[in-house]
Symmetry: C2
Subunit: 336 residues, 2 copies
């Protein structure tokens, strides 16, 4: 199963030329602004990440995610590594994935020999599924499941000895969508990506919020020092600096409004999205993807939905202006 | 199985008081000098680590480790995560570990349900073992296995459908001990720790050098983006800057000589070690460990060898002087 990931700028450059600086890469859902980094002292680089640092990061994360005290939290080098562990938590069986959605979930279960049922909505999840997976808000369409539905589902999965995975990779700027305050309840695993909202995709940091049992299993699988000291130090800093967080979120909103404007001016119809990306629908989405590549703008197309194109956020007004110009050129070539 | 790890400064501080700045932590084999870091651009923090960065790191690593072109290399968030994958590469059976040595190998195999045979030397490895593990130079005694013996063993393990793991965590400043130039041969997996020699234990970066088959399995298990962008960028920089590397190695030698002097002056007998640590033997090693803790010097003791104490390197002459004074005091308390 070949997955066309965002972040494939290298391959686009090979085919369409240009240097990194020539391109506007809108192919991922990562905030293009790196959250202002703290000074990282030599001891953080030098020493194995110790218990104290981990505890600080967990305390800050619990507060930031509004978790209950009794909920457990596990840190991993990116949510991806947690996604790959989900199939190992119960004996092999059937997993229901509500989609279309982020494809690494399916790949992970297939690789582990599970049977995958792709479901269009929660109601379609078969009784036979041991695990259910919902990305919330969903990627790429931004669909948000009702909290009560998620909690009911988690309870139902728990009563079968299974669980529900809620992947909240894009939930940070949509706190109202999150079920993190319910973490710790049976049958519920919540995955949190640090890199997307905080613009730190290169850092590799993700969290699982869960019951004690599941957390212990995940920690054992991850082993000691799974996450880097700099990642933990940066997380403590980012989670705790509420003033800076508010300003950073404000800039994200502005960026999202810039994108919405550019798309509207180009006559593109947003059919979904989150604060971190927009999904547009048009007849010739793949053609537009290619013409935008020729203009050195990388967007995200979908093999399973040839009418969809996902746009990540331009960094600032300059990037938005360039995007506007290039989008016009690309559309001109299609219409000529 | 509770393993007393190096780096347990937090626990020592809880028991013996003092702030971090009051302590000299010699409990790990990590070079206390962080290798001079390059500027890490925002794009390295922001973007998912891409193929190009990975390829640059692999190229630099292959050159630095003197690997053959046909050998494969896999990057992981620390050697620890690779150690935990070793039991999964062949069906469960018996593993022979030449020891006493770094205990995470045994723990990893026990956790995966393997039978562990602890062997005193290569000759003692039973025919029934599917996997053999040798840390070379060994931790904590610094013993170095002959290259031919290692290569013969790898060949023998291969012919049984198994393999030999050579953990070269401390081999960087002992390149003559390394079998990395033979990586790619059947039955041989070499583990390389980036953090120890380069003083970057917090970074979490390790490599496995192996055949194509094994590399593919490890890569699949690790999944995409297992290693952070900053870690890869720092590795490219550190591996490639030969002038800085030579000066850095020179400072390491100086540091090691400082430690040897302090130990000799204190009448402690070095029975082994590497460029990154020294192992001394004395009747009251645990007592000295405790008295040193009271002086806020953390060393490494061993439950299985109560006569051993391992000393990591003091950063500089100032640290060496403080160590000298505190060692004298600690010995005075024992002898009084």
């Amino acid at each position: 199963m070949q997955i066309e990931h965002g972040g494939a700028l290298d391959r686009a450059m090979e085919r369409f030329g240009g240097a990194v600086a020539d391109w506007i890469d809108l192919s991922t859902g990562i905030n293009p602004e790196v959250f202002p980094l703290p000074l990282i002292g030599p001891e953080i680089w030098n020493r194995l990440p110790d218990e104290k640092l981990l505890v600080s990061a967990f305390r800050a994360a619990k507060d930031y995610y509004s978790m209950a005290n009794e909920a457990e939290i596990v840190a991993a080098p990116g949510t991806q590594s947690l996604i790959q562990m989900m199939p190992e938590l119960v004996t092999r069986g059937e997993v229901a994935i509500v989609g279309p959605t982020y494809q690494e979930h399916e790949r992970s279960f297939l690789q582990a020999g599970w049977m995958v049922s792709n479901c269009a909505c929660i109601e379609d999840i078969p009784q036979s599924a041991k695990i259910a997976v919902i990305v919330n808000p969903n990627n790429p369409d931004g669909r948000i499941a009702a909290k009560d539905d998620l909690l009911d589902l988690a309870k139902a999965m728990d009563s079968k000895g299974g669980f529900l995975v809620v992947d909240e990779a894009f939930a940070d700027p949509h706190p109202e969508s999150s079920v993190a305050e319910h973490a710790g309840k049976g049958g519920l695993i919540i995955l949190k990506s640090f890199g997307k909202f905080f613009g730190l995709g290169g850092l590799r940091l993700g969290f699982a919020l869960s019951t004690l049992d599941i957390a212990q299993t995940l920690k054992l699988r991850l082993g000691p020092w799974a996450v880097s000291g700099p990642a933990l130090a940066i997380a403590v800093h980012a989670f705790s600096d509420r003033g800076r967080l508010a300003a950073y979120t404000e800039r994200l909103r502005f960026r999202r409004a810039l994108l919405a404007n550019v798309l509207a001016e180009a006559g593109l119809v947003e059919i979904g999205g989150t604060m971190l990306f927009s999904l547009v629908e048009l007849m010739q989405a793949h053609r537009l993807h290619e013409e935008l590549c020729r203009q050195h703008v990388l967007t995200r197309k979908f093999g399973y939905a040839p009418q969809w194109l996902r746009f990540g956020l331009p960094l600032d007004e300059i990037a938005a202006d360039i995007l506007r110009q290039r989008l016009t050129k690309a559309q001109g070539r299609i219409n000529s």
